[in-house]
Amino acid sequence: MRKLFDFHGGIHPPENKHQSLSEPIRPAGIPRELVLPLSQHTGAAAAPVVRPGEQVLKGQLLAAASSLVSAPVHAPTSGTVSAIEERPVPHPSGLSAPCIVLECDGEDRWVELPAPPADYRELEIPALLERIRDAGIAGMGGAGFPTAVKLTSGTHHHIDTLIINGPECEPYITADDSLMRERAADILEGVAVLRHILRPREVLIGLEDNKPEAIEALRHAIGDQPVEVVVFPTKYPSGGEKQLIEILTGRQVPSGGLPADIGIVCQNVGTAVAVRDAVVHGRPLISRITTVTGEAVARPGNFEVLLGTPMHYLLEQAGWDPTRSGRLVMGGPMMGFTVPHPEAPVIKTSNCLLVPTEKELPSPPPAQACIRCGLCAEACPASLLPQQLFWFARGKESEKLEQHNLFDCIECGACAWVCPSHIPLVQYYRAAKADIIQQRRDHEKAEHSRLRFEARQARLEREEAEREAKRAARKQAAEKRAQAAAAEGGEDPIQAAIARAQAKKAAQQQAPEASPEEKAAAARQAAQAKLAKMQKRLADARAAGEEDKIVTALEASVKKLEEKLASLEEPTA
């Protein structure tokens, strides 16, 4: 028997898991329309590679990963891309985000998948990671961090323990439980791939002791593989990555660090199955197991859902009565959030849809004053001081919040659950975190702007200096030329230019002093010249046999000039 450890704090809320375990996993079917958000994971949104109107097949790439921390999106069934537009997404804000809308044709035809390798063990590790990345796998436990990125960082460290996360500690949710019961062999196949990539010393599957069927199924599927199922007492939040690591190994992940820093990688059981599908069968991530539960559904249970399925469609499969449900929660009652639009889709991180009645999960009563009872500090699984953090968050004291390790808070909600004053503590922490992150971003931006401003100032100064230098160089060159000219005995070009300019000016000043007679003579001369020219053109035209029209026009012009000349000569005559 392996030595188990315990983490600080934790709570025991009512489990409410049996409701959704009465039936095996059911397929949810193909809805009329699928809505696939471009951002279903942590990191940058994927970039669409299809256009509205395009026909796509099941498993075809719809949007490609746009940066290192990103995940592609694939078509969960065949159909037509009807739009790429803003649609409501499952997010606590209730806002819309860019989605690919897929009109399903119901035929569910697969695209030709890249042939899976005969034996993945023969592939290079980077090639395996590439396959996992291309399959669009993001952590299926709820955080949605791209799995390939996590594994890549794992390959850079020496990993001694691979932990498969299966406690599923949050009340109501049974998606992982049913997966372990029914598809233990698939999970083990996925674990074998992960083992091959990370080469850990040991592999542990952690479970709470409230899942005897799953434990049995996993032990059966393991056979003689070097994988150990570790069972420990039920306590929320044992499924938190850092908490699970502490339970199984007794080691703590340093504040602000990653499990890989202490040689551990954690993966959810659902992620293991997705990795198996991607590597062994070459299938991208297009569906997941989602629990639908709560008193407002007649037949709660677990569903295999195509990603992008509208939530109301899935709820209807379970016999949803909208008149009874108070609200729609994605995730569990502790860490989940209310989704204002039931048309929002199921995404890669949707492990549970909870539709409780008002009686089942009442709205929180109004918060009262903190009485400094300290229950929150006893419950905190991260050994923080929730009460202090609460005061600092209210006072917006960012520095003190960071000193008190606000960023180690996993937002599990244990403190708020035990709070006798019903203070929404987690919401304070979330707001404070967002505020601090914003401040950091602003500071970075300011620093960036400062550098650009200084670079611009430097550039302007440099340009000014260059202009100045050119001017000086030109001046010097001119002086040199002048000296050279003077030395050769010729005249100074500058002096000569000045003299020319003066002469011209003087000539202009003298011009207006010409007498009227002179002016008249000049005009006469000009007119005579013009007449001579025109007569010549007339003669040429006649000689060349031009058209009558031109000849007549020229004759008219000549006549006019003759008249003008006559009028000019008259006064003097």
Partner: protein
């Protein structure tokens, strides 16, 4: 030696002090040259707090000159609208002075904006390009200009020179990326835990 001290206590004391003073003076003098700090570090610290929009609303041609003015005691700390209350508080903490309310003469605190050029109307005069303090506008003569949104500080300086008024200042970020959790409203004000809570004046105190 002891005799000399006993006989000439005044002289001995003076000699002893001079003996201490000279080496230490020399040491300090050397340290002043050897460990000399370039520039004024307090100016850098103040400049680090200022938002670097380079908008000039404070009355100085950029953030650094304003930081220099604050350090020299020529300017108050409440002349920077983009920095807002938070910026004033940070400056007050740094300089250990009382925070002041933002001086309305220099403008009001507003959400961060970003310049947007209506490209159909742009005539390609490059006036905005020259006005931008952080080179965030791209364009050449008689070519359409555009703003690199991620580099724009929202300083407003490009709006004035535009001869065809085709630059708008839009809110910087909207949608999902800009959303974040808000601090919960203090619902406890509605709950009368003790008698004085019923009095809104005292409850607010």
């Amino acid at each position: 030696m002891a005799e000399f001290i006993a006989q000439q206590p005044l002289l001995a004391a003076l000699l002893a002090l001079a003996g201490l003073g000279l080496p230490f003076g020399a040491l300090l003098g050397y340290a002043a040259v050897r460990f000399r700090t370039e520039g004024n570090p307090i100016v850098d610290q103040i400049n680090g707090i200022l938002p670097q929009t380079q908008c000039g609303q404070c009355g100085y041609p950029g953030c650094r000159p304003y930081a220099e003015a604050i350090a020299a005691g020529e300017a108050e700390i409440n002349q920077c609208p983009p920095g807002g209350e938070a910026g004033i508080q940070a400056l007050a903490d740094l300089l250990d002075v009382e925070p002041l309310p933002l001086d309305a003469e220099h403008g009001e605190e507003s959400e961060r904006k970003v310049a947007y050029i209506r490209e159909d109307e742009c005539i390609g005069c490059t006036k905005c390009v020259q006005a931008c303090p952080v080179d965030a506008i791209l364009g050449a003569a008689k070519q359409m200009h555009t703003v690199i949104a991620s580099e724009c500080t929202g300083c407003d300086l490009c709006v004035e020179p535009c001869p065809v008024d085709c630059i708008d200042m839009l809110p910087a970020a909207t949608g999902l990326g800009a959303w974040h959790w808000e601090l919960p409203q203090l619902a406890s004000r509605n709950v009368e835990i003790i008698a004085t809570d019923a009095n809104p004046k005292q409850a607010a105190a």
